[in-house]
């Protein structure tokens, strides 16, 4: 993907890994960062492409450690081509795709297929996640070492938790020397059962089966115990409850090898959105109630949960933001709430949603960039360090964004095949201007 020279002039360069935050220019040559700071005129090659970033933010490209690209098997929901274009539009230069494909990513052949398809179709980097268990069935360990050698960056049976505590123990133990995390979707099925939204008065009011917070917290507590028992490398996928935060704090306090992520939707919208009132206070349902675009697993929770998650992210306890981008075809959402597919199409709204925390004064812009670059790289391990920095010599994966750009969410303009977002028609403040992967511009916002 290496290409000619590129100069990004006079942006606010935020490189949290190096504590660098100042107006500067970035020179890219041969796909790598060449100079960050003052770029002397005689260093600028002839024919160098110039991007004026005055008033804009320049940072390492975002890394999403949790998304669903649906290929192979569910190409009607998303493909590597459309999913990576969506990622580029959202400022992501690396996407880790979950293995709940068909066939699932539980052997090296499927990893190879995804890598080949990515070479042909992807506009950003694609890093496959491998299954913990064969066929994602939760019964027997997948060939984890072979998967790691083939290039998976994490293990997960996402879509489902690893239900069996002993299998989880064995997986953590067996993979401890492989240096990559097991990402578990923590949800105790005996408690979540047929739930479709957060348990609480809104679920009661709407007559929808609820998922208690205890379903998530019980399995988080279990997995933390198992991480302690085995010395394994545990990563908690998309935590959503206020009770998950102290469990994580305790685990980290003990020095366990445990990390966690949170999704933009769990940081910004609540179960009130299921009432169809877009979060506006209302005790009753509107005709727009049962908005299936709000159905996501784990579910949208209450305001006190959102508060706790924001605090946890702001103070660095929660390592990173991950999208859990889960695109679906329209038909799977044009049914009753009980029958609708779980999932939100997030890649293209992740930055605008997350920036709400910055605009509301809940965290600094620098911290937010950290949670979308350095944080995810820390979860994945040292091989990702060079993708999360603008240090000269590293690959030029860069995002240029305007933190004040206001735009209306119009899913028909999404690059993703998944138009399923509860944010349809809302206005977000903050949008990507340019995304660069290995020195090559892969997305430019025509409207900015």
């Amino acid at each position: 993907m290496a290409s000619g020279a590129l100069l990004i002039k006079n942006g606010r360069v935020i490189d949290p890994g190096r504590n660098f935050d100042q107006v500067a220019s970035v020179l890219v040559r041969d796909g790598r960062i060449s100079i960050v700071g003052e770029v002397p005129a005689d260093q600028i090659p002839q024919g160098c492409q110039v991007i004026d970033a005055t008033g804009l933010v320049v940072s390492p490209g975002f890394i999403d450690i949790h998304c669903h690209l649906r290929e192979p098997g569910f190409e009607y929901k998303e493909t590597i081509a459309t999913g990576t274009r969506a990622g580029a539009r959202g400022g992501f230069t690396s996407l880790c795709c979950m293995p709940n494909t068909e066939p699932p990513i539980d052997n090296a052949a499927v990893v190879d297929l995804i890598r080949r398809r990515s070479r042909e179709d992807a506009v950003v980097r694609v890093h496959p996640v491998g299954c913990v268990t064969k066929g994602r069935k939760g019964k027997a360990l997948a060939e984890m070492e072979e998967l790691a050698s083939a290039g998976v960056v994490a293990f997960s049976d996402d879509g489902d938790p690893v239900y069996d505590a002993n299998i989880m123990r064995l997986a953590l133990s067996y993979s401890a020397d492989l240096g990559i995390p097991i990402t578990n979707h923590c949800e105790e099925h005996a408690l979540s059962r047929n739930g479709v939204m957060a348990e609480g008065w809104i679920a009661t009011r709407l007559g929808l089966p609820g998922i208690p917070a205890a379903a998530e917290e019980a399995m988080i507590a279990r997995d933390i115990s198992l991480a302690e028992l085995t010395g394994g490398r545990l990563h908690l996928a998309h935590i959503t409850t206020s009770g998950a935060v102290p469990l994580l704090r305790q685990a980290k306090g003990k020095g366990l090898n445990v990390t966690a992520e949170v999704c933009p939707h769990h940081l910004t919208i609540t179960d009130k959105w299921v009432l169809g009132t877009r979060g506006i206070e209302s005790s009753g349902a509107s005709t727009n109630a049962y908005d299936t675009s709000t159905k996501v697993y784990p579910p949208l929770r209450g305001g006190s949960d959102v508060e706790a998650l924001i605090e946890g992210l702001a103070d660095g306890l929660i390592d990173c933001i991950a999208t859990d981008h889960a695109p679906h075809e329209p038909v799977s959402k044009q049914v009753t709430y009980n029958e609708a597919a779980f999932g939100i199409s997030v890649l293209e709204t992740a930055l605008g949603s997350s920036l709400q925390l910055v605009h509301a004064g809940r965290m600094t812009l620098n911290s937010l960039v950290d949670r979308m670059t350095v944080g995810p790289a820390r979860v994945l391990g040292p091989t990702f360090d060079e993708l999360a920095t603008l240090e000269p010599g590293t690959p030029a994966d860069i995002v240029v964004f305007d933190s004040d750009l206001e735009w209306e969410v119009d899913p028909s303009k999404f690059e993703s095949k998944g138009k399923n977002t509860p944010l349809r028609g809302t206005t977000l403040k903050g949008g990507v201007v340019t995304t660069i992967v290995e020195g090559k511009v892969v997305y430019t916002n025509a409207e900015s």
């Binding site: 917070a213 609540t270 049962y290 209450g302 709430y337």
Partner: protein, 338 residues
Amino acid sequence: MSTSQAIETASLVVPTDSPHLPPRKHVLDLDDFSSEEILAVIESAKGMAEVLGRDIKKVPTLRGRVVVTLFYESSTRTRISFEEAGKVLSADVINMTASASSVEKGESLLNTGLTLQAMGVDVIVVRHAYSGAPYLLAQQLDRVGIINAGDGIHAHPTQALLDLYTVQDKLGSISGLKVVIVGDVLHSRVARSNIWGFSKMGAKVVICGPATLLPLDLLHRNGGDALPEELASIEVVTDLDLAIQDADVVMALRLQSERQDAGFLPSLREYIRRWQVTDERLAKAKPGALVMHPGPMNEGIEISSSIAHGGNSVIEEQVTNGVAIRMALLYQLCTGPK
């Protein structure tokens, strides 16, 4: 008087006697009914009840209108009640059940609704096993009125309106009454709509039953976000002997036998012992308290036979009033805006 003369005479009655019913497109739940509108529907139902009391129960009010009852769950009284309501008003009523239609071939609810709309149907009365199904139709169909005849465990607004009508008719007013709803509130759409309706009309609602069959968040045990005012005012009491004291209305809910299998109850025997509405318990309520049941009853489980058929029971009146309420709603929707 010949039949045609009777119809001609009667035709004048319904429209002119009707109170000022506000225009309405759908009946999804009682959330969007004001107390004034509830009273107007009850008033309108009284006029309809007068038609039902005639020898010849037929008025031409909705002649030329098409009403479809689209039932994805089995029902006897609600479907027949709607059918009778439509026919008395001279609407053409078409009954569609899931087992005898393209639904069996896998047609989605939405496509079924779109098909019915394309056929020019005026009102779809829908019952569905999943909460919110009528909302899907209301959101996606723009030329058809939707009446919720029971959706999952969410709402049964016409049942609640007929219950409000029955109480108003028997006790004169609803405001200030103590209404005890006892049984499987967690899985009851009747309870949800009645909680909303009675609260809105100023009654004090007490819900009672095993803690496993009451919504946890109404017990204030989930520690989550604050409840909205309407729900916070609901009292939750697990002991029926306490709950029933000085009650004006006692409503027993149907207990599905599968609740026992799913572990919500140790046994039916224990349920009967603690939560059956009996003569002994009813003696603690106000004299003349009304006993209600949405049906179908499990006599001997949630309600004793002597109570079900005793002097306090208004269970048969509920059924009669149901037809009148549904006539009023069909009239309101068919004559409202499109």
